[in-house]
Symmetry: none
Subunit: 525 residues, 2 copies
Amino acid sequence: MKSVSLYDTTLRDGTQGEGFQLSMLDKLRIAQRLDAFGVDYIEGGWPGSNPKDIEFFQEAAKLDLKHARLAAFGSTRRANVAVEDDGQVKLLLEANTPVVTIFGKSWELQVTEVLRTTVEENQAMIRDTCRHLKEHGREVVYDAEHFFDGFKDSPEHALATLQAAADGGADCVVLCDTNGGTLPSEVMQICMQVKERIPDTPFGIHTHNDCELGVANAIAAVKAGGAQIQGTINGYGERTGNCNLTSVIPILQLKMGIEVVPNLEGLQSLSHFVDDISNNPHFARAPFVGRTAFAHKGGMHVNAVQKLARSYEHIEPGKVGNSQQILVSELSGQSNILIKAEQLGVPLEKGSDEAKAILARVKELENEGYSFEAAGGSLELLILRQLERYEKPFELKEFHTSYRLYRDGHQPVCEATVKIFVGDEAEYIVDEGHGVVNALDRALRKALIRFYPEIEEVSLLDYKVRIVDGHDATAAKTRVLVVSGDGESSWGTVGVSENVIEASWIAIVDGIDLFLQRKRRAGQA
Amino acid sequence: MKSVSLYDTTLRDGTQGEGFQLSMLDKLRIAQRLDAFGVDYIEGGWPGSNPKDIEFFQEAAKLDLKHARLAAFGSTRRANVAVEDDGQVKLLLEANTPVVTIFGKSWELQVTEVLRTTVEENQAMIRDTCRHLKEHGREVVYDAEHFFDGFKDSPEHALATLQAAADGGADCVVLCDTNGGTLPSEVMQICMQVKERIPDTPFGIHTHNDCELGVANAIAAVKAGGAQIQGTINGYGERTGNCNLTSVIPILQLKMGIEVVPNLEGLQSLSHFVDDISNNPHFARAPFVGRTAFAHKGGMHVNAVQKLARSYEHIEPGKVGNSQQILVSELSGQSNILIKAEQLGVPLEKGSDEAKAILARVKELENEGYSFEAAGGSLELLILRQLERYEKPFELKEFHTSYRLYRDGHQPVCEATVKIFVGDEAEYIVDEGHGVVNALDRALRKALIRFYPEIEEVSLLDYKVRIVDGHDATAAKTRVLVVSGDGESSWGTVGVSENVIEASWIAIVDGIDLFLQRKRRAGQA
């Protein structure tokens, strides 16, 4: 038996977050991944508040989960209604899950002002509902809403609600920092009092991130003897989100010696899976799993990391499925490039002419305003070009863009022409778009597709523009960063020029070029 | 004297973060905002590692900061070199700042493996450098790199390095969790030992967010008697970022009763300003300042919030300049606009029709992708236009831009035509430039100059482009931020459109328009 269990509520509390919506299929897929990863409880939804959640539990019953137990979420019976007659409690039983989690009010203020009933009736609601669910063979988790705020107002009232749940037979009482306003020192102190007062029922913790302390508060509760952590993958949830399990899990396992999952290496992949399923961008700076979580930029740091990885890495990145990233920047020396080349499968020797030539070219481009930090694709092309393992897929002859804005009702008119050669064959194509860059991108693809039909797979995922040195204003250099993808992977490319159109052109062309180079190399291999 | 001072390193450690680059003008503007907000120390850069930072300190000296003290950052002298002869230490003094912060090694492993010198020489390097800087009249902050890792390996060695700094006269020793791998319970315990061992020198804390505990660790240090918190706005910084001051400040002030700034209401605006200046998107779920930090989605929550805001809000959102998102009350968000109008000398009455109309227009534009945080000039024009105290200086009839790139040696050809009316007089002008936006800016000025010769004084100081929603790539909306100046003051204006040329046009026109409006109002006054 684990000393701390993981209770995931991504599918329920997570979906309270803005921009985090899941279809039933999404929820089923996430549930399977959570199970495979080793989460103990999966809260699937609230049958009483959402008819879709009833369907979910019907489908989820067929999933054949290996380890995790499904939980249906709901509230205690209403005031002044027998628990057997409460429709919402009936739906909880009909969800037919091994676990039922109910929440009740632990803050006296909430009982009188929001629920508008008496303290005694509130306790009876908690006790009756727990007992009723236990009588129907469920494992019962009691979520004490607003527990910490309630405790700070009136410890006696708050503890009495937990006692009511324990008397009703709850298997675990969970202390909720519903508003996310409690500090770790308070959590620790209050948890210790709970443990003393209600020693025979394990307690859990449910925190929110409103003070950027969601993870710290969960850890504090575990330190005080907590036996269950509720949270979500990537911290999705209402307002600022729930306790981020993606950070809590490695902390427990790697820092506190509490084994909660059989294998941490799937952590980054699980995190990205949930982002992708919910169509949210990855947060680059996310602890443990973010793209830059083990990225080193300063030349001094890079140097030290090579001498001794522990210098700037608190854990070995591979333990959570992540990897060290060396950012090639103005602050860096040759070591960054050697590592990058190694990752590409084209190892360079330190101090070799090739390595020197590549570094010189990188520095030269950086002086022109290039930055390869988020444009590994352009760096890959630069290395390939320098190594003469590169064949140019097409030759640009000329392009032209035109944009005309009328103030008399007309839509703006925007078009691009592209003239290219592939070998000896010329193509001269015009297309239009929402803006000059969009028009140019469309014209280029239209011109290339008959030579390289595979570029159909590539699309532009992101497009960012910045001015490299603002001093000369519009005459200054523009840096365009493009992210392209083919459904399986994505890559960044960069272009710099005195004007945004040419910079965009360079980045877009490199994005397509790299795709074609990789296809060719894969075909040769 | 404050019991805890705020030390901001957004301009130095922040810029170690991926995608967080600042020009010198950006750095100067941020420094002014930090000063106005009430931050105590502003670490501006590392003169020894970056020639741009030397220039920064020259310019920053002219800023006339009201409260904050500027700090130059660097390292101790090198091993086996007299401190007077160390070039990097010389550059620190030449930066001519009231404060100098130096870092040294507190982890024995780092001394032997990375620095490759002896423990004794390392302590001498720390002591000598502190003493030398004190002799030159500087306030000296000593950053003990890897302090917690070092302490865990060898408490005696780690404490001896702090003692060396104290012996050298350091005004504050700062315990750095350089790798971000330490837990709050460890921070608390170690800080208490530091306080006991080195009672006469105040200690500070510098944390990183690698375990999502950057804020919690800083708070733990303050609980243990810490007197300074180092961090960055929005938590920018290497890897997962630094301690997020944007969360720490309201926690100290609202939760712990430690006053650190005179007025918290500018917090959200400061946070968004730094995002906009660095051309980064706002993180919606950011505690305190995020767009969804006080957003209520669950129907039950909305209901409860209406009955009792404290139900799901740990603080009053207005205290940090944020607002509740569901209950868009007629009065919400108005205060910023009232303050701005007051500053313009056109005071509005709270709740008046004029104030409501202006607020409605701001919300409408924000929905279209506008952001006024770094574009006070556009907000000023919006208010003037709504108040009907506005005379349009010219009427656009049409503009056209053309860009042609040849690969056969030719320079790209880029021109713009502008057709405008001033009163009944038409002007139809063509000009060329480095890019389409530059050409357009030149053509517009050329067209206006015979009507408004004073625009000779105005120039474009900065030009930034970002894509408001990256999902549709080049077809998404573009936001252009322009900073114009007349040598005495500078002002920001913003334009949004599906294409960068029109967005630029809007922002450039507003920049000139505002200048003309101000001239006219000054002439009338």
